[in-house]
Every structure is written in structure tokens, then in C-alpha cells.
């Protein structure tokens, strides 16, 4: 029984960064902007949170700084994709590559290290708040999407930007808001990794979680509740592989690939069908 509880608790912890990032991706993608830069945004958030917490000795300031950093980086993605109509996948890839490099470069300059920040004391961590936030955001996101004017506009520009434009919605503005929101949430996801789950930033510490979050988003059909369930499933797989390390005969690699295989299976339409927002990935040219 005890081991099961440990496993479940671990699953919730593992799914938290996935959920935060996936909800971030949800806002962006429901507005029609692909965000495969989640990984890079998370790294930006994780590094900023750890460094600022190190200097300020206050994790809340670190978290706030991470959010600012996430929004700014997402803004770069937004400017490229919305303003300059850059290919959204390519821009996201650039963000990912950029933020493999930037934290490493800065940590070398700030802390004389090769990609890590100094260890933070136990008292300067926020291990619980991001978990609560992540799961509280699921109903909030549902409500925002389905019951508020902003949510309506968001879905409208993601499904049919021409119609939204005709109805007087500023497509670019809504998309910018959505992309920045996704940057903020992905940054919190990263911050949870560096000042929640562990106590420092390490090189490439997201280890593909941004992509798993993206997978969960697709697995969850771009809907908040389903996305949460997908995150829990993937988080559980992650927790299982950690618990089984060295104990079981099943190699961890086989558990690690579960989310990826499932996503391919879902995309191929073998389990239900996952339909993307109709205008996803299509830059919108205003009609005036």
C-alpha cells in the first residue's frame, strides 16, 4: 500500500511540469499558434527562477522573474510568427536551440559553472505551490475557454480567423495574448523543476518534458481536462520508471517511450481522433 502511495505522489509531482506546460501550449495552440518551443520556454523559466532565487533568497521573486522571462521569450516567438509570419514550427525550434545555449552561457558568466546554478537551501524552495496551481488551472482554463469573452475570441481566431476578424476581433492581439500566456505557464513549469522539485538549475534539465507536454496536449485533444488526464498518465509512466530503476527487470527505456508511442498511435487515429484547431499553424493576414 505504502509503495502505491509513494508512486501516486510521485506521479502527481512528475505530471505537474507537464500539466503547466501543456496548459500553456493549449492557450497558444487553441489560438492557432503552434508552440513546439515549450521546451525552450521551460528552460528559460527554470534558469531564471533558480538564478533570481539565488540572488534574492526569495523563491517567489524567482518565480515572478521566471514568468517575466517566459513572457518575453514567448514574445519573440509571437513577433516572429504573428508579426513576421514566420513558420511557427521553425520559430519554436529556434527557441528550443537558443535556450539550450543561453542558460549555459549565462551560468558560465554568473556562476563560473558549465551550465548549473548554485544549490539553493531547502527553505528557498516552493515544492507545493506549483502543484496546486497546475491542477487548479485546469477548471480555470476550462472556464476561461468556454465561458468568457476572451475564451470565445481565442477559440474563434484558432478555428476561423477570417470570421473573427470580420466580427471585429483583433486576431493578432488575441494570438499575442495567448502566446504570452503560454510563455508564462511554461516558465512556471520550468521554475517548478528548478526551485520546486530540485534545488538548482542543471543543463538541459527539462530533458524533453516540453515535448511530452506537447504530446499530452495532442493526446488530450487540446482540451483542459483530457490534457490533465494525459499528463497524469505520462507522469505516472515517469514515476514508474523512477521507482523501478534498479529494482525491476523491465528496462526503464521501455517505460520512457510509452508517451511517445501512445501519441503516435493517437495521431494515427487508432484510439479516437485528435483534431487540431482548424487554423493551427496558419499565419493570418489581416484584411485591410
Amino acid at each position: 500500500m505504502n509503495i502505491l502511495l509513494i508512486l501516486l505522489a510521485s506521479a502527481v509531482r512528475q505530471s505537474t511540469p507537464l500539466l503547466l506546460a501543456a496548459l500553456g501550449g493549449l492557450y497558444s495552440e487553441r489560438s492557432g499558434v503552434i508552440n513546439i518551443g515549450l521546451e525552450g520556454l521551460m528552460l528559460a523559466g527554470a534558469f531564471t527562477a533558480a538564478s533570481v532565487t539565488h540572488y534574492s533568497a526569495n523563491p517567489w521573486i524567482g518565480l515572478a522573474a521566471a514568468i517575466v522571462a517566459g513572457v518575453l521569450v514567448a514574445l519573440v516567438h509571437g513577433v516572429a510568427c504573428i508579426r513576421f509570419k514566420a513558420d511557427q514550427v521553425v520559430s519554436g525550434t529556434a527557441i528550443n536551440i537558443l535556450f539550450l545555449g543561453v542558460p549555459a552561457l549565462l551560468s558560465g558568466a554568473l556562476f563560473e559553472s558549465t551550465g548549473a546554478t548554485p544549490q539553493l537551501p531547502q527553505g528557498q524552495l516552493i515544492p507545493l505551490a506549483p502543484i496546486v496551481l497546475a491542477f487548479a488551472l485546469v477548471p480555470v482554463t476550462w472556464y476561461v475557454l468556454n465561458r468568457t469573452p476572451f475564451g470565445l475570441r481565442l477559440r474563434a481566431v484558432g478555428e476561423n480567423p477570417e470570421a473573427a476578424d470580420t466580427a471585429g476581433v483583433d486576431v493578432a492581439r488575441v494570438r499575442f495574448a495567448a502566446v504570452m500566456l503560454s510563455g508564462a505557464l511554461a516558465a512556471i513549469a520550468g521554475a517548478y523543476l528548478s526551485i520546486g522539485q530540485s534545488s538548482l538549475f542543471a543543463r538541459n534539465m527539462t530533458a524533453g518534458r516540453g515535448f511530452i507536454a506537447l504530446a499530452a496536449l495532442i493526446f488530450g485533444k487540446w482540451r483542459p481536462v483530457q490534457t490533465m488526464l494525459a499528463c497524469l498518465l505520462f507522469g505516472f509512466a515517469d514515476a514508474l520508471s523512477i521507482q523501478m530503476q534498479g529494482v525491476s527487470q523491465v528496462p526503464v527505456q521501455f517505460i520512457q517511450i510509452v508517451p511517445y508511442v501512445l501519441t503516435i498511435v493517437v495521431l494515427a487515429g487508432f484510439i479516437g481522433h485528435s483534431r487540431a484547431p482548424r487554423a493551427l499553424g496558419v499565419p493570418y493576414q489581416e484584411k485591410r
Partner: protein
Amino acid sequence: MKLLRELLFPLAAVIAAFAVGAIVVLAVGDNPITTYALLIGSAFTWPDGIGYTLFYATPLIFTGLAVAVAFRCGLLNIGAEGQLYAASFMTAWVGITFASWPAWLLVPLCFLTALLAGGVWGGVPGVLKARFGAHEVITTIMMNFIAVALASYFTQYHYKPQGDPILETVPIGEGAHIARLGKFIPGFPERIPLNLAFPLALLACLLVYFFLWRTRWGYEIRATGANPAAAQYGGIAIGKQIVLAMSISGALAGLVAVNEVLGYRYRYYDSFSAGYGFTGIAVALLGRNHPVGVILASLLFGALLRGGLFVDIFTEHVSKDLVMVLQGIIILFVASEALFRGLSRRRIKGV
């Protein structure tokens, strides 16, 4: 005039990226001019600088070509990384399993394995897209992780030398080794790992050019990429082109194995790739999805990889991660000016 324009935009993007990079270097606390002098200067010394620059450029030519071929069909292959891992492991596996075979048999066999394994790993997302409409960006990302995990599993549990602390396979047979260029070039030491994979990469560029612009299949791939609806109306089977383009793309990425396994380490080494598959995207974009452009862009990034090592050692604060930062900025700039080009016409669904 057209050529000048084709050269001008990438050049402007590179210069702009270096300018932004200079600000980063300044912010970190070093002198950008000396840093760049070190970065570029150390990449072109004879024989080490040039040798290593070409050695690093070799996998990038393969992955750049891979991404470019898919791009020409309107597909974004983010999976070159997984394709080169799948191919490298399989190539090493063949080299280990048939270690006693003579070189004239084993080298071609390993070569074909690299092509085939990469081709299959790229072809599967192609089939999934053509048959089920699954978007290639997501499926190739997922296939990347699957390739890395599987290769790491087989290495760790089945092919690792006893007691080896490093995650790598046992060596391949001597018959599978291909020659280093030092053997043929006087004054060029054999310790530099530049090998026959480099001329092979140049040959691949020539073949890809011939294929895309001088054959019917190539024409159909480009027609599909330029305007799928028109291509279909004109009687081209879109699905077939997608599978073909993704398979060729994967096979090209798979040839990285020739450089890595047959010409350099003579074994499969876990997570050896310095993001070659992703840099391939930058290479293809910067090289305008043209084989000649791919060569030029690969040389630039190869030089940066080489020079980055020296920046790491000889500057006060800047690390070799500067190269990654430059790469990211270059992609952003190139992508953002793509609005002037056909690229933004690409329509993506279902990511």
C-alpha cells in the same frame, strides 16, 4: 540577380545573428571582437582547424540535405536526429554482428544498413502522414525519443563491453572501417577523423540536386511541395510523394552513421550527436533548401562547432554554448524573413 538575392538574405541573417551574439558576449563580459576572431580563426588553421571544420560539417551536410528534401515536398522533418540515431545503432549492429566479414562485403553492407535504417525511421512518419494524416512534425519528434531510448536500451543491455563505464557498444569489425582522408592527402595527419564520409556527403549533394531537378520523381516531389492541390489535380499521387520524400530524407540523415560509426568511433556511442538533426534544420533553412546552400551553411556551422571549442577554453567567460545561441538566432532571423519567400505558404495542420 536571382543568385545575388538568394545569397543576400542568408548573409544578412548571419550578420544580424552575429550582431545580436556580440551583445550577448558583451553582456557576459568578454570582448566580442576577440571572441569572434577566436571562433572563426581557430576554424581555419591548417591542418587541424580545416580538418575538424570539415569533419563537423560532414554530418550537417547529411542532415541539412535530409531536411531540405523533405522541405521541398512541403514537409518539416524534425526527426533527422532520431533517424541518424536509428541508422547509427543499426550500422554498428551490422558491423558487430558480421565483424569477421571482409571489407569489400562489410562496408557496402553497413552503408546500405545506414540508408535503410534511416529511410525506415523517416518513412514511418511519411506513411502515418499519407495514410492517416498524422502530422509529421509531431510523429518525427516522438520517433526521435523512441530511437534514442531503443538504441540506449540495446547498447546498455546487450552490446556494452563488460565493465565499460561509458555507454557504448563493443567495436565493429575492422572490415567495416572506412579510410580517413589523411591516408590520401600528404601533410594531413590521420589522427584528424575527417574520413571518406566527407566526399560521400558532397556526392550526396550532387545526387540530390540531380534527383530533385532532373528526374521525374524529383519534379513530382517539388510539385507536391509547391502546391499539393495543383499537384494532385495534375495527376500526382500526393501520398506516394510524401512517403518517398520522407524515406529519402531519413536515408540521408542515416548516412551520418557512415561518418560517425564507420569513419570515426568504430562503434555506437550513446547520445553522440551534438544535435546534428536539429542543426540540419538551420542548415537547410540557411542554405535555402538547395544542395549548394546546404554545403555552404554546413561549412559555417562546422566552423562554429570547431571554433566553439576554442572559445570555451581561451575566453574568460564565454563558453562553447555561444555557438548554440548563434544558431538559434540565425534560425529565428532566417525564419522571420521567410515571409518574402514561398516558405510561409506551407500550410501546417494538426500540430
